[in-house]
């Protein structure tokens, strides 16, 4: 799975996710990536793209939960990401990237690694796996 989240100079957020799904999957299987609210979500507060165990991400409505935690619980972006991964995934394995309208970047995963990178207007850039 691949994904990208961005916030532009106007403070508008967007997310996109694309995947071939699960190796050896049954024909017709739908994963989390195309399900708005599960693998992908964007609103006025943030944008989120998820990856990992699709069935667990669907059950936990992971991407929307990050936004909901910010909207309803008042959490910061990284706090919301950490909470959703820890409290909502049950036994599922997944990761996600997120940006907020304030230009923050956050990510998290409970797998061994996640291929990821981020950049911000102030010149920060990072690419990592583990």
């Amino acid at each position: 799975t691949v994904g990208c989240v961005a916030v532009d100079n106007g403070g508008w957020c967007a997310a996109a996710t694309s995947t071939g799904g699960l190796m050896n999957k049954m024909s017709g299987r739908i994963g989390d990536s195309p399900l708005i609210g599960s693998g992908t979500y964007a609103c006025g507060a943030c944008a989120v793209s998820c990856t990992g165990e699709g069935e667990a991400i669907i059950r936990s409505t992971l991407a929307r939960d990050v936004a909901a935690l910010m909207e309803y619980k008042g959490l910061g972006l990284q706090e919301a990401v950490d909470y959703a991964l820890k409290e909502r995934l049950d036994e599922g394995k997944a990761g996600l990237i997120a940006v907020s309208r304030n230009g923050e970047v956050a990510y998290g995963f409970n797998t061994v690694g996640m291929f990821r990178g981020c950049a911000t207007e102030d010149g920060f850039m990072d690419v990592a796996i583990w």
């Binding site: 990208c4 100079n9 995947t19 050896n24 049954m26």
Partner: protein
């Protein structure tokens, strides 16, 4: 306002034994795509234009599981899916079951921008792609030799899973699964399969 920012991912659930050269290749692709996105944001493009542009880049490169380089179904074919969401107005588009659309994320964008719907799947999505004249290619374009090899391994691994379930349910002896013992990876599993079969996700 805090200025622009961007993040990309190429999948989670990485095999801890992933060779160094594969790790470097993944970092190279992520760096390049991040650069494309950052340049777009710097130039004043909207967030939704940038995420589509970056995911198209990732789909076109066979390193990750999307577009060209997608993993294979049981039948050895590719079925892709994608979605996009614009926080401005919470508009969204999604597609599933694509077999010929070169860049699924752009079809998702068209569903969002040019259809009254949020989600199109299988033949409906393919029909919409042709109606919108997006680039289509033969399904074989998406299939890499590496993923053909991985499907073979996954099928072998899958027989282990079935065999283990049967062993529990039917209380049959574990030695009926002797062929499965050739694939081990320290016990890490995702979706019931050993993590090592994911390529590279």
């Amino acid at each position: 306002m805090g200025g622009w920012a961007i993040a990309v991912h190429g999948g989670a659930g990485v095999d801890p034994k992933l060779p160094e050269e594969r790790q470097e290749e993944a970092r190279r692709v992520l760096r390049r795509c991040l650069g494309v996105g950052a340049a777009g944001l710097r130039a004043g493009l909207s967030a939704v234009d940038v995420v589509e542009m970056v995911v198209r880049e990732l789909e076109t490169d066979p390193v990750f599981n999307s577009g060209r380089g997608s993993v294979l179904t049981q039948e050895g074919t590719v079925e892709m899916e994608a979605s996009i969401m614009d926080g401005r107005g919470r508009r969204c588009g999604a597609v599933s079951g694509l077999t010929t659309v070169k860049n699924p994320v752009s079809l998702a964008r068209l569903v969002m921008d040019r259809s009254p719907h949020s989600y199109l799947a299988f033949h409906g999505a393919e029909d919409f792609a042709r109606e919108q004249r997006v680039e289509v290619v033969d399904n074989s374009y998406f299939i890499t030799d590496e993923n053909v090899r991985m499907l073979k391994l996954a099928k072998e691994a899958n027989s282990i899973v079935v065999c283990e379930v049967d062993a529990i349910r039917l209380q049959s002896p574990a030695d009926t699964c002797s062929a499965s013992s050739t694939i081990t990876d320290g016990g890490l599993h995702m979706n019931g399969l050993p993590i090592s079969i994911y390529a590279p996700e």
